[in-house]
Structure formats: C-alpha cells, structure tokens
C-alpha cells in the first residue's frame, strides 16, 4: 500500500515535472511569470484531441504535429505579447497581467469551440502490469519513461551544448548575452518554444490517462509553478525535484487526509516555502545585492 502510494506519487510528479521544467525554462531565463503557460497546456491537449480523436490520425503523427504547433504558439505568444512589452521597458507586473489576460482569452476560446465537458482521449481499458505488489498502467510507465528521457536530454543540452550555455548565461545576466553578440530575442524564442513543447508532452500524456477539459491547464500550471518555487527558482533540476516532491506529498495527503484537501496542502506548502525558504530546496541564500527581481 505504502509502496503503491510512493510509486503513484512519483509518477504524478513526473507529469508535473514536465510542466514545471517548461515553466522554469521560460521563468528562469526571461523572468516572465508566464500565466498563459496553463493555457498553452490546455491548447495542446485540444490540438491533440482534434488530430487524434476527431480526425483519427495516428498517435505519433498527432503527437508530433501537436508539439510542433504548440512550439510555434509559444514563439508567437512571446513575439506578439511579451517582446513588445519588454521593449517598452514595462514592469514585470505588466507582463504578468498581460499573461493573465492572454490565459483568459485562450481558455474561453477553447471552451467556446469545444464546450466545457470532459473529453475522453483514450476510451480503451488500459493494460496494467504488476511488479511485486505494485500495479502500474501502461500510460503511467510511458509517462515515467518519457520524463526520464526528456530530463536527461534537457540536462545534457543545458550542461554540454553551446545552446545550453547561452540559456544559462541569459538566466544569469541577459544584458551580457547581447553584449556577446547573441540576439537575446532568439534565445527567448528558443525557451518559449521548448517550454511550451514540454507542457504539451505532459498535456498529451495526462490527457490520454484521465481525459481533458478547458480548465486542466490552470491546475497543471499552478502545480508546475509551485514545483518551481519549492525546488528553487533559477535552478532547472529544482523544478523536477520540486514536482516529484509535490506529487509524493499530494499522494500522501490523499491517503492520510482526503483528496478534497489536496489543493489546500499544495498551496500551504507554497506559502510555507515563500515565507521560510523562498530560494527553494536547491537554492542558495543570496546576499541582498545579488538578489534579482
């Protein structure tokens, strides 16, 4: 029982971690509190639903098309909404509020086109596998494997490639990046495309598991954002660690208390971290002069 809960918590955490990593890529490098990340999540679930369920295209084609389209949407959002604001020198508040506005527009557009009821993407009964006492569904195994592969790839890109170096440089000091002759605009496009695609992977996997409705994005985004804060803003591994811890905590909350109080536990954890360890688990305490924001 306990092992099953542990495993379920970690697997849910892997789903959150993809959204959290996507948000972290955007937030760490551009400092934009990308609320619309939740809308991007919902949008990709509905792209996939359109291709896979309405048009009956194959799973892999639908998934690849969705990822490509959503990466383009990410770039478009940055180009149309955020970049003009950054060029005007608008404050982070203005960017955050615009993002909120964009979230409202996208979600309501989806609700208008597809209605609000839950859509089931995968009507078949899922195959299950039991390992010892632990029972896993196929989609749970796929989610975990996908997360492990993507996490490994991202860390390799960040640590070993030139692109990763530029992204980390942008996180540390955006002005110096342009001083090096790199167009920061292109770095922004890369992180928005990558971040949106990561959210999309999670949306497709979780959508196949439990179905979709227009509001899934908000919960997914909030879980992801909480994970980034508790893991440590500015640290890419922190997002994944925070997400898995959050998954574990929620699964224990369901066991010990009740599923109804899951959100309360999540946001209590957020507030406790903000108050007592706002740099997150992996973050280092900074001196005031070094603090960003």
């Amino acid at each position: 029982m306990i092992i099953q809960l542990l495993v379920n918590g970690i697997i849910n955490g892997c789903g959150y971690a993809l959204v959290a990593l996507g948000f972290a890529f955007i937030y760490n490098t551009t400092r934009t509190f990308h609320f619309a990340h939740g809308a991007v999540y919902t949008l990709s679930a509905y792209f996939f639903y359109t291709f896979y369920n309405l048009l009956n295209w194959s799973l892999s084609l639908s998934a690849i098309l969705t990822l490509g389209l959503i990466a383009l949407c990410g770039i478009l959002i940055d180009d149309v909404i955020y970049t003009p604001l950054v060029k005007q020198g608008a404050s982070l508040f203005i960017q955050m509020l615009s993002s909120l506005g964009l979230y409202i527009v996208i979600i309501n557009f989806i609700a208008m086109v597809f209605q609000s009821e839950t859509k089931i993407l995968n009507p078949e009964v899922q195959a299950t596998y039991s390992i010892g006492n632990v029972i896993l569904t196929r989609i749970q195994i796929v989610t975990t494997a996908t997360f492990v592969i993507i996490f490994g790839l991202l860390m390799t890109i960040l640590k070993k490639t030139y692109l990763g170096k530029v992204i980390r440089a942008m996180r540390d000091n955006p002005d110096l990046v342009s001083a090096m002759g790199i167009n920061p605009q292109n770095v922004r496009r890369v992180v928005f495309a990558l971040g949106s695609a990561l959210a999309s992977v999670s949306a497709i996997l979780i959508g196949l598991d439990v179905g979709i409705d227009p509001h899934i994005g908000l919960t997914a985004f909030l879980n992801g954002a909480v994970a980034v804060i508790i893991g440590g803003v500015g640290i890419f591994e922190g997002a994944a660690l925070g997400a898995i811890l959050l998954g574990l905590l929620q699964s224990f909350a369901i066991w010990k208390i009740s599923a109804r109080w899951q959100e309360l536990i999540t946001f209590l954890l957020l507030i406790l971290f903000l108050l007592f360890r706002s740099e997150g688990i992996l973050g280092k305490r900074r001196r005031i002069e070094e603090a960003k924001i």
């Binding site: 509190f33 404050s91 955050m96 959100e263």
Partner: protein, 289 residues
C-alpha cells in the same frame, strides 16, 4: 425597472470591491489575487452569524468586517516582506486555500450546496425588502465606503502609501515603517471587501463558494486594470463598464451558450491592450512601473 435596479445594485457592490482593491494596487503598488477570498469571508461570516445565531444585520456586518481584517493579518504580516511576483503568488495561494476551505468544510459552510434563505437586512427596524430598496440601501453603503476610501487615500496615510508605491526605499529613508503601512492598507482593503460580501449575500439571499473563486479575484483585478487605478474615478468607471458589458452583449443577441465566453474573451483582450498601450487604464493615474 427591476432589471435596472439589479444592475445598479451589482454596480454598487462591485464599486466597493474595486475601490478597496484600488487601495492596495493603485495606492500601495501591491498586486493582490486574493480579493475574492475576503469578499467571500465577509459573505460567509455574516451569513453564518445571521442564520445560526440569529444575530441582527448590523452586528453581523461588524463581525464580518472584523473577521476579514483579522484573517488578512495572517497573510499580510508574514508575506509583505516578499518581493514582486512572490507576493502575488502568496496572495494567489491564500485565495485558493480559502476557496478550498469554503468548498470542503461542509459541516459549517455546506460546501458546494451553498446556503439559501439568507434574510434581507433589517436596519434598526427598517426592513430592506424590494429590489428597488436594496438598490438604495447598497447605494448608501457604497457611497459611505467610497467616501471613507477617498478620505483615506487623500490623508497623510494615503500619501505615504503612494510614496511606497513610487519608491519604497525613499519612503523608508524618510522614516516610514513600510511593513506597518502595508499591513494596515491590506487590512482596510480586506475589511471593505467584507462589506461587499455581506451586501452580496443579503441581496442574492444565497451564497456558494463558486462566487469567490480565483477567477473572481482576477475579475475584480481586471475591473481596476481596465478602469485605471490610483484615484477614485478609474475603479468606478471600470466597474460600470464591466457590469454593463455583458448586458450589451445580450442586446447584440449573442447566444446564451457562448455569451459568458465571449464576455471573458473581451475582458482578456481589453487587459492585454490596456497593458500594452495605456497601462494607467482608461481613467487612472498609476502606471504599474
């Protein structure tokens, strides 16, 4: 005619919400996503006292304000040291926690079933019953609140808040105790939000947690973003616009199934456009710098 009185009553209720949130956003420069939580706290506290103990309207209103102010301290005292988006996140967390409690503490709040049969207010023997009289009653309260908030904003206290908004470090250098000012501003705003909640509960005579969600907080915030912040005219203009807009859509014969979505899409687009081209809103003074 009742239709007009209904709209005007809603404008009165939301004017108090917008003006009180304005004290935080427009005067102090604190972006809060928890205003609907205090609106709900006010509605629930007064309703529970009136329905369970049979307390009259005025003492219930007083207890609702007091409860909301005290609860605001729980969030404001620790979290005001947080900077920028961290404060916004803390207020968002508080909003969701309050909603979860209202929704799941079924023994007390009746959760998703809501509470019905809330009595209309009776003030010192005068029973406010018809929609027309409720419009007058809410109008008087809204005018009192607007007057008080104007006086607060115009007082030396209000000017310190504006100084904090413009430059926190300079205000501190002038010997102002910044956290104390912020805590007091937050408490005042929460108290006024509770008044709106009490008015709302007495008007609809039914409350359930879905009136006090995160999206409701976003709606109240969008009223003052679109209307403008930092003065009185911005939030009032925003309230009138945002309450009337759905009615205009109704006259345009947009089908009921998509009308709420169309309305919210318009809100969203307005927020994006205003932030881009006129960050001080239609009639405000603060530019979110």
């Amino acid at each position: 005619m009742n239709y007009v009185f209904h709209l005007l009553t809603m404008i009165n209720i939301y004017t108090i919400l917008a003006l009180s949130l304005n004290l935080l956003v427009g005067y102090t420069g604190l972006l809060s996503l928890s205003h609907a939580a205090f609106y709900g706290i006010g509605a629930y506290i007064s309703t529970l006292f009136m329905m369970n103990i049979g307390l009259p309207f005025l003492p219930s209103l007083f207890l609702a304000i007091l409860g909301s102010v005290l609860l605001s301290l729980i969030i404001s005292i620790p979290s005001l040291s947080l900077k920028g988006d961290y404060f916004v996140l803390a207020s968002l967390g508080f909003q969701i926690i309050v909603f979860t409690i209202l929704y799941n503490w079924i023994d007390v709040t009746r959760g998703p079933y809501g509470i019905s049969g809330i009595p209309r207010p009776n003030i010192l023997g005068i029973q406010v019953e018809s929609i027309a009289s409720y419009f007058i009653f809410s109008g008087v309260l809204a005018a009192i609140c607007a007057g008080l908030l104007y006086l607060i904003g115009d007082s030396p206290f209000g000017r310190v808040l504006k100084a904090i908004r413009e430059d926190e470090i300079s205000a501190a250098a002038l010997g102002k105790n910044i956290p104390r000012f912020k805590v007091i501003a937050f408490a005042i705003a929460s108290g006024f939000a509770a008044v709106s909640g009490v008015l709302f509960a007495g008007y609809l005579q039914y409350i359930d947690p879905t009136s006090f969600t995160l999206m409701e907080s976003v709606f109240i915030l969008s009223i003052i973003i679109i209307g403008g912040t930092g003065n009185l005219s911005g939030p009032i203009l925003g309230t009138i616009l945002m309450i009337i807009l759905p009615e205009i859509l109704r006259f345009l014969r947009i089908p009921d199934t998509i009308a709420p979505n169309v309305r919210e899409i318009i809100y969203g687009i307005l927020i994006i456009l205003i932030m881009r081209f006129q960050p001080q809103g239609l009639s405000g003074e603060y530019k979110f710098e």
